[in-house]
């Protein structure tokens, strides 16, 4: 495998930015497909570890993109991928922001919201399943995923608690 150039990474994330309906957490399967499955630039286990590190830091979920860039091309790669993932969609949001308010309550806007919502949900659900598969794939890790899903769905507690519990259970399950 040849590692990708920074320009290639940047352009890949520029495209992904415009496809990320529902945010960074909707496109984990697509990132995995491109970076792990199609090119083998990082392994599935590394992908899961990078996601875990991104979660262990405060900040938006898009940080997984920064870490993929860092892993493949160092600091410059991290910055290039982050900008690639944010810039195109930000320009779009900048332009669409004013229109959005103008069309408040209009049937066209409601149609777009309603049309994209189920796609977003399907993709976010897919991201959750993909990450569950890449994170070990044993019955223990699936049980941990299920437990944290139920716990975080039912309780409004800071998600950091569930992540910390995950780390602890991961270490305890070693022996």
């Amino acid at each position: 495998m040849t590692p990708p150039s920074i320009l290639e990474l940047f352009l890949r994330f520029c495209l992904l930015s415009l496809m990320a309906v529902g945010g960074a957490n909707a496109v984990l399967p697509e990132m995995h497909r491109q970076i792990v499955e199609a090119h083998g630039w990082i392994s599935s286990a590394e992908f899961a570890s990078l996601y875990a590190i991104a979660q262990a830091a405060p900040g938006p979920n898009v940080l997984i993109v920064s870490l993929i860039g860092w892993k493949l091309a160092g600091l410059v790669g991290a910055i290039a991928c982050t900008i690639g993932m944010c810039a195109p969609s930000s320009l779009l949001a900048y332009g669409a922001g004013k229109l959005w308010y103008r069309f408040s309550g209009s049937p066209r806007r409601i149609a777009i919201e309603r049309g994209l919502a189920p796609i977003t949900i399907g993709l976010v659900l897919g991201s959750g399943c993909l990450l569950a598969q890449t994170a070990g794939g044993h019955w223990q890790t699936y049980a941990l995923t299920a437990g944290s899903a139920v716990a975080s769905y039912r309780s409004g507690k800071n998600p950091l608690w569930w992540l910390a519990a995950g780390a602890l259970l991961g270490v305890l399950a070693m022996r």
Binding site: L15, A20, R33, P60, E113, G115, L125, G128, Y153, L163
Partner: protein, 187 residues
């Protein structure tokens, strides 16, 4: 009466939001924007959230861009997004470098597997929360299932999935709005 932040305040507000949220910062953004600094009313935030979720790209990034632009033009957007991203980016890269030093440690790797598995659960809970809020109809359930199966089971490229599903889904959304209008309900 909502306040109008200057550029420095936009940077500071989003800086604080960026470093206070783990596993996504949207709930913290809401507290900062509506409760603490009163830049937006509750209703305005809901509007903005639907924009952030509908447009492509990271939700909170879109929100910071639109709020920045609304109060201080493009410079406001730049201040808001740099405030949001700067500290988390530095922190995550420091963590990544620490990880690199201990990458062979079995304890660390098991802890990370545990974190990733728990994080997968958080994402599943997010999708469940979104699904509960969605308008319940057969077509939206079918579209949801198709999007899910296309990426998880068939491993299709996302571009093709969106290209095929989004137009159909928006038309179905449009028809459902029209049906409600004809029945005299306001959606």
């Amino acid at each position: 009466m909502p306040c109008i932040p200057n550029r420095r305040q936009l940077f500071a507000g989003f800086f604080k939001t960026g470093i206070s949220g783990f596993g996504g910062v949207l709930p913290h953004a809401r507290r900062m924007l509506v409760d603490d600094r009163r830049w937006l009313t509750d209703r305005q935030f809901t509007e903005l959230l639907s924009l952030g979720q509908t447009l492509p790209g990271p939700n909170i990034v879109n929100i910071s861009i639109v709020i920045g632009a609304r109060f201080q033009g493009w410079q406001g957007s730049v201040c808001a997004i740099s405030g949001l991203m700067l500290a988390p980016l530095v922190i995550v890269l420091v963590l990544a470098n620490i990880y690199d030093h201990f990458a062979q440690s079995p304890i660390l790797n098991h802890a990370l597997i545990g974190v990733a598995a728990a994080a997968a659960g958080l994402i599943l809970a997010t999708s469940a929360k979104l699904a509960v809020k969605m308008d319940r109809s057969v077509w939206s359930a079918v579209i949801m299932l198709m999007a899910f199966l296309a990426v998880i089971w068939l491993h299709l490229p996302l571009f093709g999935v969106l290209f095929a599903l989004a137009p159909i889904s928006i038309v179905l959304g449009w028809l459902s709005v029209r049906r409600e209008r004809q029945r005299g309900e306001t959606p």
